[in-house]
């Protein structure tokens, strides 16, 4: 009996220890804001509890979000969420999204990278980007966690040693949840600048409105200790923190304006988009998404619990996501409902669309976004810039409309679900090695070295666009790469949908088709246009016309090689038969005639039926009256 009791106690204790729930893990259901008046805690020494930061602490340390926020919210559970789990190979990547785009005009490169193994992307290490190099390039608009906490696991021993100095880029909870307008993500001394300087440990603190971070880890020796921040070389400026003394209150606790649902600007910092019109990027040229204009915020649809398994909002997401309300958070989920046991449409007063006059076959063949998202299609795709691709919102960002990478949209194409939707697209340009028919991108430093003698400063564009490249220049670089290539490998250059290689015998550049040269596309949903601007709102010929951009618009090519930038028609991306589609579009010219003839025919038939029916009624009336 005592052994059984002991076993029960051990089991219960074990279970309790394995699923330790913290104070803030489970909400009590109140919709009011929970006031966060809390101590600032620094990164703890191994095996020790974290120390509180006081206004007179010396040295003044950055606060650790893992320690400070993690005191009440299970950091490990949060770090499994979508924004932080890119490096977890067990996570279902779901529908492909915007990749990180490594763009380098000095080597005429723009290549999609992702840790999620989305089709068409490459892993950063395939082009030689270590975790630190990746953070250096893209960490500016990453919320921390994931690769940010793997800097000590780099294959580069130097980076591993340096990680003690830089610290890890922990999840910056404030990047999303700080409601204070002073949250500094992109400013001159804010989060992004500190990440780019390598000040990972200080980045979250730098973003805070009551803290200021100066200095950089650059040049610091590997044995530098941030808890004893003294350096002998006066030229080195190690990172230093200054807190606004007034921020500290009773018990030296600090008040954070924490919002459960991130305010729009937080999301916009990483997820902004601006169209390039006449070379300019004025955001006031276009309206924001109709949902936001109507008063919703991003988190109204893109929701999650403690697990931060955020809803991405596409129709097939329930197949890939464990979020229990994913099905109800898509376009159909809110506007129509899921047709489950009980009515669940009309969320947030979402109007139920009538789609008057639209045959139902459209809903089998098109996504909602095809008609409702992105800019109204023009004869040719337009360029657009995004926050993550072009560092929008960060001090010193290149504001030119021409800067790489060149993103194009709207592109109407067939998605992974078989439906035609709207996408953003870019044409990858990169140098690679072809071995046994497989195209593998080359290390970027190798490429830069090979290209540096050919692509000189004189060829650089002032706007950050492609360098001035001729076919001879590409040939020279390929020859240089070929001279360093392993046996059986052939250097190639992928650009604008073609693969170029140097034919030694012919002595010239030759191009070929290859699936490695396919454009990288990802479906978009924002910005949603109002119903009055949806495709088809005027008539069927918004799409079904011989000159309609939806079917026959041009997806511009893009390449440093002028001869390569041919482009292609939308119809190719939509996988529609060219001849049948052209004839069908042309036939809509006769639609009014169809209507008129059919209606007139019906009127005549009704007339004939009515005439003889009335005659029959008359006869029947006379017959019953005995008169006939």
């Amino acid at each position: 009996m005592s052994k059984a009791l002991l076993l029960v106690v051990v089991l219960v204790t074990g279970v309790a220890a394995g699923v330790e729930e913290k104070l803030g893990d489970t909400p009590d259901g109140s919709r009011s804001n929970f006031v966060h008046l809390i101590p600032l805690l620094s990164e703890p020494l191994p095996g020790k509890e974290p120390d509180q930061i006081h206004p007179d602490s010396d040295p003044m340390l950055p606060f650790s979000t893992k320690a400070t926020c993690g005191a009440c919210h299970s950091y490990d559970k949060i770090s499994a969420g979508w924004h932080f789990n890119a490096t977890d190979s067990n996570v279902n990547p779901g529908r492909n999204g915007q990749a990180w785009i490594y763009a380098d005009p000095t080597s005429a490169t723009q290549i999609p990278l992702s840790y999620r193994n989305w089709p068409g992307t490459f892993r950063p290490e395939q082009i030689g980007l270590t975790p630190v190099a990746f953070l250096q390039t893209f960490g500016r608009q990453m919320p921390g966690g994931a690769i940010g906490e793997m800097v000590d696991k780099s294959d580069n021993p130097e980076e591993v040693l340096k990680s003690e100095v830089t610290g890890k880029l922990e999840i910056n909870c404030l990047a999303c949840h700080d409601g204070n307008p002073g949250q500094d993500m992109g400013g001159g001394s804010g989060y992004s600048i500190n990440v780019m300087r390598g000040n990972y440990r200080w980045a979250a603190t730098a973003s805070c409105e009551f803290a200021y971070v100066t200095g950089s880890v650059k040049g610091l020796p590997n044995e530098y200790n941030f808890r004893a921040p003294y350096v002998s070389d006066s030229k080195l400026k190690p990172p230093a923190v200054a807190y606004r003394k007034e921020a500290f209150g009773h018990n030296d606790w600090v008040g954070f304006d924490i919002r459960l649902e991130p305010p729009k600007p937080r999301c916009y910092f990483c997820h902004s988009n601006v169209d390039v019109r006449d070379g300019k990027t004025e955001k006031w040229f276009t309206d924001e998404d109709v949902h936001l204009a109507a008063g919703l915020i991003c988190a109204d649809c893109h929701r999650n619990g403690l697990d931060h398994n955020i809803i991405r909002g596409y129709a097939s997401e329930p197949c890939n996501s464990t979020n229990p309300i994913a099905a109800n958070a898509s376009c159909e989920g809110c506007h129509i409902g899921t047709k489950g046991e009980k009515p669940d449409g009309g969320r947030f007063t979402a109007p139920t669309p009538k789609h008057a006059g639209i045959p139902t076959v459209h809903f089998d063949k098109l996504t909602c976004t095809a008609c409702h998202s992105g800019p109204w299609p023009a004869n040719e795709t337009i360029r657009t810039k995004t926050a993550r691709a072009h560092a929008l919102g960060i001090a010193g960002a290149n504001k030119s409309g021409d800067v790489l990478p060149h993103l194009l949209y709207p592109v109407f194409a067939r998605g992974q679900d078989g439906k035609i939707g709207v996408f953003k697209l870019f044409w990858p340009a990169y140098w690679a090695s072809m071995v046994d028919g497989n195209v593998v991108p080359l290390d970027i430093e190798t490429v830069k070295s090979a290209a540096s003698r050919t692509i000189t400063k004189a060829a650089f564009s002032k706007t950050g666009s492609w360098p001035d490249l001729a076919e001879e220049d590409v040939a020279k670089i390929l020859m240089t790469l070929d001279s360093k290539a392993a046996a059986g490998a052939k250097a190639v250059y992928i650009t604008s949908g073609k693969m170029y290689s140097f034919d030694i015998d012919a002595g010239k550049l030759i191009s070929a088709n290859n699936k490695a040269a396919a454009p990288y596309m990802w479906p978009i949903a924002h910005d949603v246009r109002p119903a009055a601007r949806s495709l088809g709102v005027r008539n069927c010929q918004d799409c079904h016309a011989i000159n309609s951009p939806f079917l026959f618009g041009l997806v511009s090519g893009d390449s440093p090689l002028k001869s390569a930038a041919a482009g292609a028609r939308m119809i190719k991306f939509e996988n529609l038969p060219k001849r049948a589609t052209e004839w069908f579009a042309w036939s809509f010219m006769f639609r009014p005639m169809f209507k008129i003839v059919s209606i007139l025919a019906s009127v005549v038939i009704i007339g004939v039926l009515a005439y003889y029916l009335l005659k029959a009624l008359g006869f029947a009336a006379r017959a019953f009256a005995g008169k006939d």
């Binding site: 008057a356 005639m593 169809f594 005549v604």
Partner: protein, 225 residues
Amino acid sequence: MFRSIAITGFIAVIAGTILHFAVSKPKFDDVFGKDRSLRILDPLRLVVFLKTLLFVEQKWSLVGVLRKLVFLLAILCFVVLVVTGFVPNIFLEKSITGWWLMIHATFAPIFAACLAALAVLWADKNRLDKNYWPWWLNRALLRQPGSTTPAEKYELGLKISFWTILVLSLPMILSAVLGTFALFGTDGQRVLLQIHRYSTLLLSLFAIIYLELAALTEMNRTASK
């Protein structure tokens, strides 16, 4: 479900009309004459004879020519519409799109116009005049219909089929054309599609019955001469 009903309907009606034709047709001797040679070619004679029935009795007047042309055009459109309308659904199990839809939508207004013209040109010939009143009354009171010639028997069936086709043509045409206006939302479009499908199916079945009865009537007339 529509697919199953359509397949069942077509099989039942086609089988029924073939059986009825085989049982009710007059003897070949009466139709083609006893002196005909190579009797083994009788099935071919039957096919040719049925084809000649398409060349309906023509009176050399404008109305006569029009009647003949409209009838031939209606038959052609009917065949094309049945093929383009039902083959994708029944055999390919997909909705009508692409070339199927284009051909279907091209012949549809022509067929509608032909139906309107046939309604005007043939309505009087197919009217159920007062001579049918005793027959209707007997049927209604479950009495014996009285003696009729074979031609009259099929004539009633022909006339009923004619008017049924006309009545069904209205939902068939209107369900297609009203869907092209911004009047009906998604649920309404689904209802219109179902109306179009089922009215077209019924019209097709009655058209097959009409053609079979017309063939029998003409054969009997030829046999009785």
